[in-house]
Each structure stands twice: as C-alpha cells, then as structure tokens.
Symmetry: C2
Subunit: 245 residues, 2 copies
C-alpha cells in the first residue's frame, strides 16, 4: 500500500501535527481578540475590501502557491484565485487519493474566527493587529491540514475493508458513514493527549506576568467540538464522492 495510507504513518503525521497546532494556538493567545482584524473593509480600500486577516492570508497564499504549496494533496487553499507555481513541479509519490474537490476551508475559517479565537484569546484590543494576523494564518493553515487529512484516513479505511462501506455509500447515507468512520476510543485518546500536551507546555515558568494563557481544557474542546468533527465530515464527504471500486 502507498505509505501515505498506512494507518501507522497517518497516526504519526496527525500526532506531530498536534504540536504544530498547539504551538500556533499558544502563539496567537499572546494577543487579545482584536476583533477589528476579522471585519471586512474595516481598514478601508487599502486591503481591497477584505479583512486584515483575510488580506494577509490571501497574500500569503499567493506566495505559497508560487512555491507550489497547493500542488501537494494534503494542502488546501482558502482562496481560489491563486497564481500558478513558478517552480518546476515536484515529483510526488503517487497521489493515493481519488480526484475530488472537497475543501472545507470556508467552514474552518468561520469556526476559527467566531469560536476558536474568542476561546483562546483574552477579549479586547491590544493594537497588535499584524502580529495577531500572522499567527492566525499559521493557525488556519495547520488546522486546515489536520481537517483535510481526513481524506487520507478515509481512503485508508475503505481500502482496508471496502465491504463495510458499500451499503452506506450506495444509499448515500451520511449518518451511517459517520458511524462507520467514528472510533470513540481513538477520539478519546486524541483529546486526552492534546489536553496532556497543553498541560505540560503550561508547566513551564514563563514569568508571572506573562503566563501561557491557553488552558488545556480549551485545546481539548477545540479538538472535540471542531477539529475531530470536521475531520470526520471530510471523511464522509470524501467517501461519498469517491464511491466504491
């Protein structure tokens, strides 16, 4: 089997990605909510009518697209008017996914801006707009990667046991598919692990007046309420679009 589809390899990628996500959330949580940076046209025409975070995300994606980021099957852009790569294409190992157009980024961005940022940041405004927005781009990119990795998870699961999925896919039964891709015990392990990791990172002495503000329960909640459900929604959508062999 393609090594990107081995469940042991997928697990390793997702566990390592927990650090990237937790680090990026901790970095964002240094700054206040700074609600203005999420409002369209808040800074006038200079940002082409976009929000400050949207503008920075868009400009960053334009550069990353030139560097061929979105030619990788585990990367998904938030904007769809990006330029072609200026570098010659990478010879990837065979892409194990079936062709699909699944992109949950608008949903991810909505949840990130309206639920996750208020959960991790102190309310109010500290005028650190640029620094906050730079962190937001990193958070959004790492969360997007985590959520869309569901495509690899789903492809791996259906190759291991196609029979289990046939009926639910044929009848387009989303609830049945959601049940099939759910493993409560694995989910509990993930949630316990990210809580534990955040606890350990919070133990460090950071000076009394500037603690790591993010709470272990908040990271656990982010995984439980948003990242894991979105990842499973990607799996369900992918299985429906993929069909059976």
């Amino acid at each position: 089997m393609n090594k990107q589809l081995l469940l042991s390899n997928i697990r390793t990628v997702l566990i390592r990605l927990e650090e990237t996500i937790i680090f990026s959330l901790i970095e964002r949580a240094q700054f206040r909510h700074n609600q203005r940076i999420y409002k369209k046209s808040e800074f006038g025409d200079a940002l082409q009518g976009d929000s400050l975070v949207g503008y920075l995300l868009h400009q960053t994606e334009i550069i990353h697209a030139k560097m061929r980021r979105y030619t990788s099957p585990d990367e998904h852009p938030f904007y769809n008017d990006l330029p072609n790569p200026v570098l010659p294409p990478i010879v990837f190992e065979e892409n194990p996914l079936r062709p699909n157009k699944i992109n949950f980024n608008s949903k991810i961005r909505e949840i990130y801006e309206s639920c996750i940022v208020p959960a991790i940041c102190e309310s109010g405004d500290d005028n650190q707009y640029g620094s906050s927005a730079v962190c937001d781009v990193t958070c959004l990119q790492s969360i997007s990667r985590r959520v869309h990795y569901g495509k690899f998870v789903a492809e791996s699961k259906i190759r291991q046991n196609q029979t289990a999925f046939v009926e639910a896919i044929k009848s387009k039964d989303k609830d049945a598919l959601l049940g099939l891709v759910t493993d409560q015990s694995v989910e509990n392990d993930v949630i316990a692990r990210v809580r534990k990791k955040t606890e350990v990172y919070g133990q460090i002495d950071h000076g009394d007046s500037n603690p790591l503000r993010i709470q272990p329960d908040v990271v656990a909640k982010i995984y439980k309420e948003w990242l894991i459900p979105l990842n499973k929604a990607v799996q369900v959508e992918y299985l429906l679009q993929r069909g059976i062999d």
Copy 2:
C-alpha cells in the same frame, strides 16, 4: 520611565520570546537540512536569482511591510527595498530608543543558515522545500527580534546608571562596553532555562517514529554561542551610536 524600558518588562518579553524561538526551531527540525533552498539561483530565474528561502523571506517582508510591521521599533527587516505601509500609521507609545540604523540581520541570516540549521536538522534532502522555508522565515524573524531587543536592554541600562558608561563610550572602547553589558549569572540562567524548556517539550510522546528531534543542548548552544553574543553586540553598537546625554 517608559514601560518598554523597565528591566522587568524586558525580561518578560525575552522569556516569552524563548517559546516562540524554541517552537519555531522545533518546527524547522521536522525537516531535513535541504541545503538547496539556501543556494542563490538554485531554482533559476523564477526566483529572481535569489535562494528559495531568500525569495520567500523577501516576499513575506513585502507583505508585512504593507501591514506596517517595520514601523515598530522592535522589528527589523532583512531586505531594504520594501514598500510603504498601506495601513495608516499606528500611534505607538513614545519610542524610547535613540535614532539608529543598527541592523544585524545579514549576520543573523549567515549564522542561521550556516550554523543553526545544520545544528537542528538531520542532514540530507527530503524535498520539503516550501515547508522548510516557511519555518525558516519564522525562525529568522523570531531570532532577529531577540537579538535586536538588545537596543532596549542597552537603553534601559544606560538610563539607570549613565556614569558607568561614560568613559567607555567616550573612548569608543568596545571591549570595555562588552564587559559592562555582560552579566554572566543572568546569561547562565537564560541558558539553563532554555535547556530546561526544550527538555520538557521533548518529554511528550510524539510517537516513536517521529520524535521531536531537537536536543536541549543544541538550543542551549544556540543561545550561548549566537543569540546572547549577538544581542550583546547590538547593545555595544547601540551604546556607541547613542553616546551620552
């Protein structure tokens, strides 16, 4: 006194910045050295003759300059052909630094690319050029901020006890100034603390096949051999340019 110059506040900023630096080094250390990304013209005309990392850094700075990053007295660009901000200027609290043109970034970049990357990454090439370069930009920006914070440290020290510095500044005695800004006990504390932090981050179970590769001794060495000496060199240079009141 301006609160940016209170030694307790400077200490808090620098301690918090240790996390940003350690996180960014851990992220970079996921990937191999990938030496090609530091070579100019390695990818032909597409990157305007720059290295891949240089190109990404330059393009990132162009965006950040538009978002007025380099109007902040604790931020220093690596490139000097950047556009003006498109956002209206922030009203900063009074800048406590004297006017100066000190910018150690070319030195920082040289040390980062030739010493720090080989110290934290496995040798060889894993083709993860874009991901590595994105991490490099974050590392370079956080290290640059740490090193140039020496300006605030020096301004704070000379305001507390100008008499101590008069003779060394008048005679432009760099060695004497270096002696005056050195506090071996504080340096030892910093080095011990970053070693301890990296140890704690390394305790976490990341799956056997994908450990956090960065060693506590390596981070201690990065601070001891490069970040602290460069920070002190900034202090010395600043004091020389500043003069006495």
